[in-house]
Symmetry: C2
Subunit: 259 residues, 2 copies
Protein backbone atom coordinates (compact mmCIF):
# COMPACT_ATOMS: atom_id res chain seq x y z
CA UNK A 1 0.00 0.00 0.00
CA UNK A 2 1.93 3.01 -1.24
CA UNK A 3 -1.06 5.29 -0.85
CA UNK A 4 -1.36 8.25 -3.13
CA UNK A 5 2.04 7.63 -4.72
CA UNK A 6 1.20 4.26 -6.27
CA UNK A 7 -0.28 4.41 -9.76
CA UNK A 8 -3.94 3.43 -9.96
CA UNK A 9 -4.26 -0.23 -10.81
CA UNK A 10 -5.76 -1.09 -14.16
CA UNK A 11 -7.97 -4.16 -14.02
CA UNK A 12 -8.67 -5.80 -17.38
CA UNK A 13 -11.02 -8.47 -18.68
CA UNK A 14 -11.94 -10.53 -21.70
CA UNK A 15 -15.25 -12.18 -22.55
CA UNK A 16 -15.36 -15.60 -24.19
CA UNK A 17 -18.75 -16.43 -25.70
CA UNK A 18 -19.10 -20.17 -26.31
CA UNK A 19 -21.79 -21.46 -28.64
CA UNK A 20 -22.58 -22.62 -32.17
CA UNK A 21 -25.93 -20.82 -31.97
CA UNK A 22 -24.27 -17.40 -31.88
CA UNK A 23 -22.01 -18.20 -34.85
CA UNK A 24 -24.88 -19.59 -36.93
CA UNK A 25 -26.86 -16.42 -36.24
CA UNK A 26 -29.76 -18.40 -34.80
CA UNK A 27 -29.35 -16.72 -31.42
CA UNK A 28 -28.41 -13.05 -31.24
CA UNK A 29 -25.96 -12.46 -28.41
CA UNK A 30 -27.17 -10.14 -25.68
CA UNK A 31 -24.43 -10.83 -23.16
CA UNK A 32 -21.44 -9.00 -24.68
CA UNK A 33 -23.01 -5.54 -24.46
CA UNK A 34 -24.40 -6.21 -20.99
CA UNK A 35 -21.09 -7.44 -19.58
CA UNK A 36 -19.20 -4.59 -21.28
CA UNK A 37 -21.36 -1.95 -19.61
CA UNK A 38 -21.38 -3.80 -16.29
CA UNK A 39 -17.57 -4.06 -16.15
CA UNK A 40 -17.08 -0.45 -17.23
CA UNK A 41 -19.31 0.64 -14.35
CA UNK A 42 -17.22 -1.45 -11.92
CA UNK A 43 -13.92 0.06 -13.12
CA UNK A 44 -12.82 -3.01 -15.10
CA UNK A 45 -11.61 -2.49 -18.69
CA UNK A 46 -13.04 -5.00 -21.14
CA UNK A 47 -10.21 -5.40 -23.66
CA UNK A 48 -11.22 -8.27 -25.91
CA UNK A 49 -14.16 -10.50 -26.80
CA UNK A 50 -14.08 -13.80 -28.65
CA UNK A 51 -16.91 -16.01 -29.84
CA UNK A 52 -16.00 -19.66 -30.46
CA UNK A 53 -18.02 -22.78 -31.39
CA UNK A 54 -18.79 -25.77 -29.16
CA UNK A 55 -15.48 -27.40 -30.10
CA UNK A 56 -13.04 -28.47 -27.39
CA UNK A 57 -9.78 -27.32 -29.00
CA UNK A 58 -11.26 -23.93 -29.89
CA UNK A 59 -12.51 -23.33 -26.37
CA UNK A 60 -9.32 -24.52 -24.67
CA UNK A 61 -7.05 -22.51 -26.98
CA UNK A 62 -9.10 -19.32 -26.59
CA UNK A 63 -9.22 -19.73 -22.80
CA UNK A 64 -5.47 -20.17 -22.57
CA UNK A 65 -4.82 -17.21 -24.87
CA UNK A 66 -7.10 -14.92 -22.89
CA UNK A 67 -6.46 -15.96 -19.29
CA UNK A 68 -2.77 -15.19 -19.51
CA UNK A 69 -3.38 -11.71 -20.95
CA UNK A 70 -6.14 -10.22 -18.79
CA UNK A 71 -6.97 -9.92 -15.10
CA UNK A 72 -10.24 -11.80 -15.64
CA UNK A 73 -11.91 -13.92 -18.31
CA UNK A 74 -15.69 -14.21 -18.23
CA UNK A 75 -17.18 -17.07 -20.24
CA UNK A 76 -20.81 -17.45 -21.23
CA UNK A 77 -22.55 -20.57 -22.49
CA UNK A 78 -22.08 -24.33 -22.54
CA UNK A 79 -22.81 -25.25 -18.91
CA UNK A 80 -26.23 -26.90 -19.31
CA UNK A 81 -27.28 -30.56 -19.09
CA UNK A 82 -26.84 -31.66 -22.72
CA UNK A 83 -24.02 -33.23 -24.77
CA UNK A 84 -23.13 -29.90 -26.40
CA UNK A 85 -22.41 -28.31 -23.00
CA UNK A 86 -18.67 -28.88 -22.80
CA UNK A 87 -17.41 -25.67 -21.20
CA UNK A 88 -16.67 -27.12 -17.73
CA UNK A 89 -14.60 -29.95 -19.20
CA UNK A 90 -12.72 -27.50 -21.44
CA UNK A 91 -11.92 -25.20 -18.52
CA UNK A 92 -10.61 -28.18 -16.51
CA UNK A 93 -8.45 -29.14 -19.48
CA UNK A 94 -7.13 -25.58 -19.92
CA UNK A 95 -6.11 -25.47 -16.25
CA UNK A 96 -4.84 -29.08 -16.23
CA UNK A 97 -7.06 -30.09 -13.31
CA UNK A 98 -9.53 -32.93 -12.86
CA UNK A 99 -13.28 -32.50 -13.04
CA UNK A 100 -15.97 -34.43 -11.21
CA UNK A 101 -19.40 -34.10 -9.64
CA UNK A 102 -19.02 -31.38 -7.03
CA UNK A 103 -20.71 -32.04 -3.68
CA UNK A 104 -21.64 -28.35 -3.23
CA UNK A 105 -23.22 -28.20 -6.68
CA UNK A 106 -24.99 -31.53 -6.14
CA UNK A 107 -26.49 -30.21 -2.88
CA UNK A 108 -27.72 -27.03 -4.60
CA UNK A 109 -29.27 -28.91 -7.51
CA UNK A 110 -30.76 -31.65 -5.36
CA UNK A 111 -32.47 -29.12 -3.10
CA UNK A 112 -33.83 -27.31 -6.15
CA UNK A 113 -35.16 -30.42 -7.87
CA UNK A 114 -36.53 -31.91 -4.64
CA UNK A 115 -38.53 -28.70 -4.16
CA UNK A 116 -39.81 -29.00 -7.73
CA UNK A 117 -40.59 -32.71 -7.40
CA UNK A 118 -38.22 -33.39 -10.29
CA UNK A 119 -35.92 -36.37 -10.71
CA UNK A 120 -32.16 -35.69 -10.44
CA UNK A 121 -31.12 -37.71 -13.50
CA UNK A 122 -27.85 -38.22 -15.35
CA UNK A 123 -28.32 -35.16 -17.57
CA UNK A 124 -29.00 -32.87 -14.62
CA UNK A 125 -26.01 -34.35 -12.76
CA UNK A 126 -23.91 -33.12 -15.69
CA UNK A 127 -24.53 -29.58 -14.45
CA UNK A 128 -22.77 -30.41 -11.15
CA UNK A 129 -19.45 -31.25 -12.86
CA UNK A 130 -17.02 -28.61 -11.72
CA UNK A 131 -13.22 -28.46 -12.10
CA UNK A 132 -11.22 -29.25 -8.95
CA UNK A 133 -10.31 -26.13 -6.98
CA UNK A 134 -13.08 -23.95 -8.40
CA UNK A 135 -15.41 -21.81 -6.30
CA UNK A 136 -19.14 -22.00 -6.88
CA UNK A 137 -20.90 -19.07 -8.58
CA UNK A 138 -24.51 -18.89 -7.45
CA UNK A 139 -27.51 -17.72 -9.41
CA UNK A 140 -30.94 -16.85 -8.05
CA UNK A 141 -32.78 -17.54 -11.29
CA UNK A 142 -32.28 -21.26 -12.00
CA UNK A 143 -30.00 -22.31 -9.08
CA UNK A 144 -27.68 -24.24 -11.46
CA UNK A 145 -24.25 -22.90 -10.50
CA UNK A 146 -21.40 -21.47 -12.52
CA UNK A 147 -17.88 -21.50 -11.15
CA UNK A 148 -14.72 -19.45 -10.73
CA UNK A 149 -11.27 -20.97 -11.14
CA UNK A 150 -8.05 -18.98 -11.21
CA UNK A 151 -9.00 -15.81 -13.07
CA UNK A 152 -11.75 -17.45 -15.14
CA UNK A 153 -15.42 -16.98 -14.27
CA UNK A 154 -17.72 -19.45 -16.00
CA UNK A 155 -21.32 -18.34 -16.48
CA UNK A 156 -24.49 -19.51 -18.23
CA UNK A 157 -25.49 -18.31 -21.70
CA UNK A 158 -29.13 -17.50 -20.87
CA UNK A 159 -29.00 -13.73 -20.24
CA UNK A 160 -31.11 -13.63 -17.06
CA UNK A 161 -29.03 -16.40 -15.48
CA UNK A 162 -25.74 -14.87 -16.66
CA UNK A 163 -26.77 -11.53 -15.12
CA UNK A 164 -27.59 -13.18 -11.78
CA UNK A 165 -24.14 -14.81 -11.82
CA UNK A 166 -22.42 -11.47 -12.53
CA UNK A 167 -24.24 -10.02 -9.52
CA UNK A 168 -22.93 -12.90 -7.42
CA UNK A 169 -19.28 -12.41 -8.39
CA UNK A 170 -19.19 -8.60 -8.67
CA UNK A 171 -18.54 -7.87 -4.95
CA UNK A 172 -15.52 -10.20 -5.04
CA UNK A 173 -13.84 -8.74 -8.14
CA UNK A 174 -10.77 -6.52 -8.00
CA UNK A 175 -11.66 -3.19 -9.55
CA UNK A 176 -9.53 -0.33 -10.82
CA UNK A 177 -10.04 3.39 -11.03
CA UNK A 178 -13.20 3.83 -13.02
CA UNK A 179 -12.93 5.13 -16.55
CA UNK A 180 -14.93 8.37 -16.66
CA UNK A 181 -16.78 9.28 -19.81
CA UNK A 182 -18.47 12.37 -21.23
CA UNK A 183 -20.38 12.58 -24.48
CA UNK A 184 -20.53 15.79 -26.51
CA UNK A 185 -23.14 15.97 -29.24
CA UNK A 186 -21.31 17.78 -32.01
CA UNK A 187 -24.24 18.95 -34.15
CA UNK A 188 -21.74 18.64 -37.00
CA UNK A 189 -20.73 15.92 -39.41
CA UNK A 190 -17.67 13.78 -38.64
CA UNK A 191 -15.93 14.95 -41.81
CA UNK A 192 -16.20 18.59 -40.71
CA UNK A 193 -14.50 18.07 -37.37
CA UNK A 194 -12.12 15.18 -38.05
CA UNK A 195 -8.88 17.13 -38.53
CA UNK A 196 -9.26 19.39 -35.49
CA UNK A 197 -10.47 16.53 -33.34
CA UNK A 198 -7.31 14.60 -34.24
CA UNK A 199 -5.21 17.52 -33.02
CA UNK A 200 -7.09 17.60 -29.72
CA UNK A 201 -6.55 13.84 -29.35
CA UNK A 202 -2.79 14.31 -29.90
CA UNK A 203 -2.65 17.17 -27.37
CA UNK A 204 -4.45 15.05 -24.72
CA UNK A 205 -2.54 11.75 -24.66
CA UNK A 206 -4.11 10.52 -21.39
CA UNK A 207 -7.61 10.98 -22.75
CA UNK A 208 -9.26 8.61 -25.20
CA UNK A 209 -11.37 10.50 -27.73
CA UNK A 210 -13.81 8.61 -29.90
CA UNK A 211 -16.00 9.91 -32.69
CA UNK A 212 -19.28 8.18 -33.53
CA UNK A 213 -21.43 9.25 -36.46
CA UNK A 214 -25.18 8.79 -36.25
CA UNK A 215 -28.28 9.82 -38.16
CA UNK A 216 -30.15 12.60 -36.45
CA UNK A 217 -33.87 12.66 -37.26
CA UNK A 218 -33.97 16.44 -37.27
CA UNK A 219 -30.67 17.53 -38.73
CA UNK A 220 -29.33 14.53 -40.68
CA UNK A 221 -25.74 13.30 -40.24
CA UNK A 222 -24.51 14.09 -36.74
CA UNK A 223 -21.67 12.98 -34.48
CA UNK A 224 -21.22 12.04 -30.84
CA UNK A 225 -17.77 12.75 -29.47
CA UNK A 226 -16.95 10.57 -26.48
CA UNK A 227 -14.15 11.69 -24.19
CA UNK A 228 -12.83 9.12 -21.69
CA UNK A 229 -10.19 9.32 -18.97
CA UNK A 230 -9.54 8.10 -15.44
CA UNK A 231 -8.44 11.56 -14.27
CA UNK A 232 -11.42 13.92 -13.93
CA UNK A 233 -9.32 17.07 -14.52
CA UNK A 234 -7.83 15.72 -17.73
CA UNK A 235 -11.30 14.66 -18.81
CA UNK A 236 -12.70 18.15 -18.23
CA UNK A 237 -9.80 19.82 -20.06
CA UNK A 238 -10.28 17.62 -23.13
CA UNK A 239 -14.03 18.07 -23.10
CA UNK A 240 -13.60 21.88 -23.00
CA UNK A 241 -11.16 21.72 -25.91
CA UNK A 242 -13.72 19.74 -27.90
CA UNK A 243 -16.49 22.20 -27.09
CA UNK A 244 -14.33 25.20 -28.04
CA UNK A 245 -13.38 23.48 -31.31
CA UNK A 246 -17.05 22.90 -32.13
CA UNK A 247 -17.86 26.60 -31.60
CA UNK A 248 -14.96 27.59 -33.92
CA UNK A 249 -15.91 25.10 -36.64
CA UNK A 250 -19.58 25.95 -36.63
CA UNK A 251 -18.73 29.66 -36.91
CA UNK A 252 -16.38 28.93 -39.83
CA UNK A 253 -18.92 26.76 -41.67
CA UNK A 254 -21.55 29.41 -41.02
CA UNK A 255 -24.47 29.62 -43.38
CA UNK A 256 -22.85 27.63 -46.21
CA UNK A 257 -22.93 24.38 -44.22
CA UNK A 258 -25.41 21.82 -45.50
CA UNK A 259 -27.61 20.45 -42.76
Amino acid sequence: MNGALSPAPIVTAAVLVIGDEILSGRTKDKNIGFIAEYLTNLGIDLREVRVVPDVETEIVDALNALRHRYTYVFTTGGIGPTHDDITADCVAKAFGVSIDYDSRAVAIMKARFDAMGTEMNEARMRMTRIPKGADIVHNKVSAAPGFWIGNVIVMAGVPSIMQAMLDDVAPKLKTGVKMLSETVRADAREGDIGSELGQIAKANPDVIIGSYPFMDENRGPNTNIVVRARDPQKLTAAKRAVEAMLVRIKAALGSVAPR
Copy 2:
Protein backbone atom coordinates in the same frame (compact mmCIF):
# COMPACT_ATOMS: atom_id res chain seq x y z
CA MET B 1 -13.91 -29.58 -61.26
CA ASN B 2 -14.28 -33.22 -60.20
CA GLY B 3 -18.04 -33.05 -60.41
CA ALA B 4 -20.13 -35.15 -58.09
CA LEU B 5 -17.13 -37.08 -56.76
CA SER B 6 -15.37 -34.14 -55.13
CA PRO B 7 -16.32 -33.48 -51.52
CA ALA B 8 -18.39 -30.36 -50.99
CA PRO B 9 -16.14 -27.42 -50.22
CA ILE B 10 -16.45 -25.87 -46.80
CA VAL B 11 -16.07 -22.11 -46.85
CA THR B 12 -15.29 -20.50 -43.51
CA ALA B 13 -15.19 -16.99 -42.11
CA ALA B 14 -14.30 -14.91 -39.10
CA VAL B 15 -15.63 -11.51 -38.06
CA LEU B 16 -13.34 -8.92 -36.50
CA VAL B 17 -15.22 -6.09 -34.78
CA ILE B 18 -12.97 -3.07 -34.25
CA GLY B 19 -13.97 -0.40 -31.78
CA ASP B 20 -13.54 0.91 -28.22
CA GLU B 21 -17.24 1.77 -28.13
CA ILE B 22 -18.28 -1.90 -28.26
CA LEU B 23 -15.84 -2.87 -25.48
CA SER B 24 -16.92 0.01 -23.24
CA GLY B 25 -20.55 -1.04 -23.69
CA ARG B 26 -21.51 2.41 -24.97
CA THR B 27 -22.54 0.97 -28.33
CA LYS B 28 -24.27 -2.42 -28.48
CA ASP B 29 -23.03 -4.39 -31.47
CA LYS B 30 -25.68 -5.26 -34.03
CA ASN B 31 -23.35 -6.49 -36.75
CA ILE B 32 -22.22 -9.87 -35.41
CA GLY B 33 -25.68 -11.43 -35.43
CA PHE B 34 -26.54 -9.92 -38.80
CA ILE B 35 -23.34 -11.14 -40.49
CA ALA B 36 -23.69 -14.58 -38.84
CA GLU B 37 -27.17 -15.08 -40.27
CA TYR B 38 -26.19 -13.60 -43.65
CA LEU B 39 -23.19 -15.91 -44.07
CA THR B 40 -25.12 -18.98 -42.92
CA ASN B 41 -27.71 -18.25 -45.60
CA LEU B 42 -24.94 -17.99 -48.22
CA GLY B 43 -23.38 -21.31 -47.23
CA ILE B 44 -20.39 -19.80 -45.41
CA ASP B 45 -19.57 -21.07 -41.91
CA LEU B 46 -18.81 -18.33 -39.42
CA ARG B 47 -16.24 -19.96 -37.13
CA GLU B 48 -14.96 -17.19 -34.90
CA VAL B 49 -15.62 -13.61 -33.85
CA ARG B 50 -13.25 -11.24 -32.10
CA VAL B 51 -13.83 -7.74 -30.77
CA VAL B 52 -10.69 -5.61 -30.31
CA PRO B 53 -10.08 -1.96 -29.34
CA ASP B 54 -8.84 0.86 -31.58
CA VAL B 55 -5.22 -0.13 -30.93
CA GLU B 56 -2.89 -0.87 -33.84
CA THR B 57 -1.07 -3.92 -32.44
CA GLU B 58 -4.37 -5.51 -31.34
CA ILE B 59 -5.96 -5.05 -34.75
CA VAL B 60 -2.90 -6.22 -36.71
CA ASP B 61 -2.37 -9.29 -34.51
CA ALA B 62 -6.03 -10.32 -34.65
CA LEU B 63 -6.12 -9.84 -38.44
CA ASN B 64 -3.05 -11.97 -38.95
CA ALA B 65 -4.34 -14.69 -36.61
CA LEU B 66 -7.71 -14.85 -38.37
CA ARG B 67 -6.81 -14.39 -42.04
CA HIS B 68 -4.53 -17.43 -42.04
CA ARG B 69 -7.18 -19.67 -40.48
CA TYR B 70 -10.37 -18.90 -42.40
CA THR B 71 -11.46 -18.48 -46.01
CA TYR B 72 -12.62 -14.91 -45.29
CA VAL B 73 -12.29 -12.30 -42.58
CA PHE B 74 -14.94 -9.58 -42.38
CA THR B 75 -14.01 -6.52 -40.35
CA THR B 76 -16.41 -3.85 -39.10
CA GLY B 77 -15.55 -0.39 -37.82
CA GLY B 78 -12.73 2.13 -37.91
CA ILE B 79 -12.92 3.38 -41.50
CA GLY B 80 -14.37 6.86 -40.90
CA PRO B 81 -12.75 10.31 -41.16
CA THR B 82 -11.44 10.75 -37.59
CA HIS B 83 -8.15 10.02 -35.79
CA ASP B 84 -9.57 6.88 -34.13
CA ASP B 85 -10.31 5.31 -37.53
CA ILE B 86 -7.15 3.27 -38.01
CA THR B 87 -8.44 0.07 -39.60
CA ALA B 88 -7.19 0.76 -43.15
CA ASP B 89 -3.66 1.48 -41.93
CA CYS B 90 -3.71 -1.65 -39.75
CA VAL B 91 -4.84 -3.83 -42.66
CA ALA B 92 -2.03 -2.41 -44.84
CA LYS B 93 0.43 -3.19 -42.05
CA ALA B 94 -0.91 -6.74 -41.61
CA PHE B 95 -0.47 -7.41 -45.34
CA GLY B 96 2.85 -5.53 -45.55
CA VAL B 97 1.64 -3.23 -48.33
CA SER B 98 1.65 0.55 -48.68
CA ILE B 99 -1.43 2.70 -48.22
CA ASP B 100 -2.30 5.97 -49.90
CA TYR B 101 -5.19 8.02 -51.23
CA ASP B 102 -6.91 5.79 -53.79
CA SER B 103 -7.98 7.49 -57.03
CA ARG B 104 -11.14 5.35 -57.31
CA ALA B 105 -12.17 6.18 -53.75
CA VAL B 106 -11.33 9.88 -54.26
CA ALA B 107 -13.55 9.96 -57.36
CA ILE B 108 -16.46 8.33 -55.47
CA MET B 109 -16.17 10.68 -52.52
CA LYS B 110 -15.63 13.79 -54.61
CA ALA B 111 -18.75 13.07 -56.69
CA ARG B 112 -20.72 12.52 -53.51
CA PHE B 113 -19.55 15.68 -51.77
CA ASP B 114 -19.83 17.79 -54.93
CA ALA B 115 -23.47 16.71 -55.19
CA MET B 116 -23.98 17.68 -51.55
CA GLY B 117 -22.13 21.00 -51.92
CA THR B 118 -19.71 19.87 -49.21
CA GLU B 119 -15.99 20.59 -49.06
CA MET B 120 -13.65 17.60 -49.57
CA ASN B 121 -11.33 18.37 -46.66
CA GLU B 122 -8.39 16.54 -45.06
CA ALA B 123 -10.61 14.49 -42.72
CA ARG B 124 -12.84 13.31 -45.56
CA MET B 125 -9.77 12.47 -47.66
CA ARG B 126 -8.79 10.09 -44.85
CA MET B 127 -11.69 7.88 -45.95
CA THR B 128 -10.05 7.42 -49.38
CA ARG B 129 -6.89 5.83 -47.93
CA ILE B 130 -6.89 2.26 -49.17
CA PRO B 131 -4.12 -0.36 -49.07
CA LYS B 132 -2.32 -1.00 -52.37
CA GLY B 133 -3.83 -3.88 -54.32
CA ALA B 134 -7.24 -3.73 -52.64
CA ASP B 135 -10.55 -3.76 -54.51
CA ILE B 136 -13.18 -1.17 -53.66
CA VAL B 137 -16.32 -2.24 -51.76
CA HIS B 138 -19.22 0.03 -52.64
CA ASN B 139 -22.09 1.08 -50.42
CA LYS B 140 -25.32 2.73 -51.52
CA VAL B 141 -26.02 4.37 -48.19
CA SER B 142 -23.14 6.81 -47.61
CA ALA B 143 -20.95 6.17 -50.70
CA ALA B 144 -17.76 6.02 -48.56
CA PRO B 145 -16.15 2.79 -49.73
CA GLY B 146 -14.83 -0.23 -47.87
CA PHE B 147 -12.26 -2.49 -49.48
CA TRP B 148 -11.28 -6.11 -50.09
CA ILE B 149 -7.67 -7.24 -49.96
CA GLY B 150 -6.56 -10.86 -50.06
CA ASN B 151 -9.23 -12.66 -48.05
CA VAL B 152 -10.07 -9.67 -45.84
CA ILE B 153 -13.17 -7.57 -46.43
CA VAL B 154 -13.15 -4.25 -44.61
CA MET B 155 -16.54 -2.72 -43.83
CA ALA B 156 -18.03 0.20 -41.90
CA GLY B 157 -19.31 -0.13 -38.34
CA VAL B 158 -22.61 1.68 -38.90
CA PRO B 159 -25.06 -1.22 -39.42
CA SER B 160 -26.94 0.19 -42.44
CA ILE B 161 -23.66 0.93 -44.25
CA MET B 162 -22.13 -2.42 -43.27
CA GLN B 163 -25.21 -4.21 -44.63
CA ALA B 164 -24.96 -2.34 -47.94
CA MET B 165 -21.32 -3.40 -48.21
CA LEU B 166 -22.19 -7.05 -47.52
CA ASP B 167 -24.72 -6.86 -50.35
CA ASP B 168 -21.99 -5.50 -52.62
CA VAL B 169 -19.51 -8.31 -51.91
CA ALA B 170 -21.94 -11.24 -51.52
CA PRO B 171 -22.19 -12.12 -55.25
CA LYS B 172 -18.38 -12.37 -55.45
CA LEU B 173 -17.86 -14.66 -52.44
CA LYS B 174 -17.05 -18.33 -52.74
CA THR B 175 -19.80 -20.28 -51.05
CA GLY B 176 -19.99 -23.87 -49.86
CA VAL B 177 -22.83 -26.31 -49.51
CA LYS B 178 -25.34 -24.60 -47.28
CA MET B 179 -25.74 -25.83 -43.74
CA LEU B 180 -29.36 -26.95 -43.40
CA SER B 181 -31.11 -26.51 -40.10
CA GLU B 182 -34.31 -27.76 -38.49
CA THR B 183 -35.65 -26.75 -35.11
CA VAL B 184 -37.74 -29.13 -33.00
CA ARG B 185 -39.61 -27.63 -30.08
CA ALA B 186 -39.26 -30.28 -27.40
CA ASP B 187 -42.07 -29.29 -25.02
CA ALA B 188 -39.80 -30.79 -22.38
CA ARG B 189 -37.08 -29.49 -20.13
CA GLU B 190 -33.44 -29.87 -21.14
CA GLY B 191 -32.68 -31.97 -18.09
CA ASP B 192 -35.35 -34.51 -19.07
CA ILE B 193 -33.96 -35.15 -22.54
CA GLY B 194 -30.24 -34.57 -22.10
CA SER B 195 -29.06 -38.18 -21.83
CA GLU B 196 -31.05 -39.53 -24.76
CA LEU B 197 -30.21 -36.50 -26.90
CA GLY B 198 -26.52 -37.16 -26.27
CA GLN B 199 -26.96 -40.72 -27.57
CA ILE B 200 -28.65 -39.43 -30.73
CA ALA B 201 -25.79 -36.97 -31.23
CA LYS B 202 -23.26 -39.81 -30.95
CA ALA B 203 -25.22 -41.97 -33.41
CA ASN B 204 -25.36 -39.12 -35.95
CA PRO B 205 -21.75 -37.90 -36.24
CA ASP B 206 -22.35 -35.84 -39.41
CA VAL B 207 -25.18 -33.93 -37.79
CA ILE B 208 -24.67 -31.11 -35.28
CA ILE B 209 -27.30 -31.23 -32.57
CA GLY B 210 -27.73 -28.26 -30.27
CA SER B 211 -30.04 -27.88 -27.30
CA TYR B 212 -31.29 -24.44 -26.27
CA PRO B 213 -33.42 -23.92 -23.18
CA PHE B 214 -35.93 -21.10 -23.13
CA MET B 215 -38.80 -19.88 -20.98
CA ASP B 216 -42.16 -20.69 -22.48
CA GLU B 217 -44.91 -18.32 -21.36
CA ASN B 218 -47.50 -21.09 -21.26
CA ARG B 219 -45.64 -24.15 -20.05
CA GLY B 220 -42.53 -22.84 -18.25
CA PRO B 221 -39.06 -24.23 -18.99
CA ASN B 222 -38.89 -25.54 -22.55
CA THR B 223 -36.18 -26.50 -25.05
CA ASN B 224 -35.47 -25.99 -28.71
CA ILE B 225 -33.46 -28.75 -30.31
CA VAL B 226 -31.62 -27.56 -33.40
CA VAL B 227 -30.44 -30.19 -35.86
CA ARG B 228 -27.94 -29.06 -38.52
CA ALA B 229 -26.28 -30.87 -41.42
CA ARG B 230 -25.23 -30.29 -45.03
CA ASP B 231 -26.77 -33.58 -46.19
CA PRO B 232 -30.60 -33.36 -46.25
CA GLN B 233 -31.06 -37.13 -45.73
CA LYS B 234 -28.82 -37.19 -42.68
CA LEU B 235 -30.65 -34.14 -41.36
CA THR B 236 -34.04 -35.83 -41.75
CA ALA B 237 -32.84 -39.04 -40.10
CA ALA B 238 -31.52 -37.18 -37.07
CA LYS B 239 -34.63 -35.03 -36.81
CA ARG B 240 -36.82 -38.17 -36.83
CA ALA B 241 -34.68 -39.75 -34.13
CA VAL B 242 -35.16 -36.62 -32.00
CA GLU B 243 -38.91 -36.64 -32.54
CA ALA B 244 -39.21 -40.33 -31.67
CA MET B 245 -37.14 -39.77 -28.53
CA LEU B 246 -39.45 -36.95 -27.46
CA VAL B 247 -42.52 -39.16 -27.85
CA ARG B 248 -40.86 -41.88 -25.71
CA ILE B 249 -39.74 -39.46 -23.00
CA LYS B 250 -43.06 -37.68 -22.73
CA ALA B 251 -44.85 -41.03 -22.44
CA ALA B 252 -42.41 -42.12 -19.72
CA LEU B 253 -42.76 -38.87 -17.76
CA GLY B 254 -46.52 -39.10 -18.15
CA SER B 255 -48.71 -37.34 -15.67
CA VAL B 256 -46.08 -37.04 -12.94
CA ALA B 257 -44.02 -34.54 -14.94
CA PRO B 258 -44.05 -31.02 -13.55
CA ARG B 259 -44.86 -28.46 -16.18
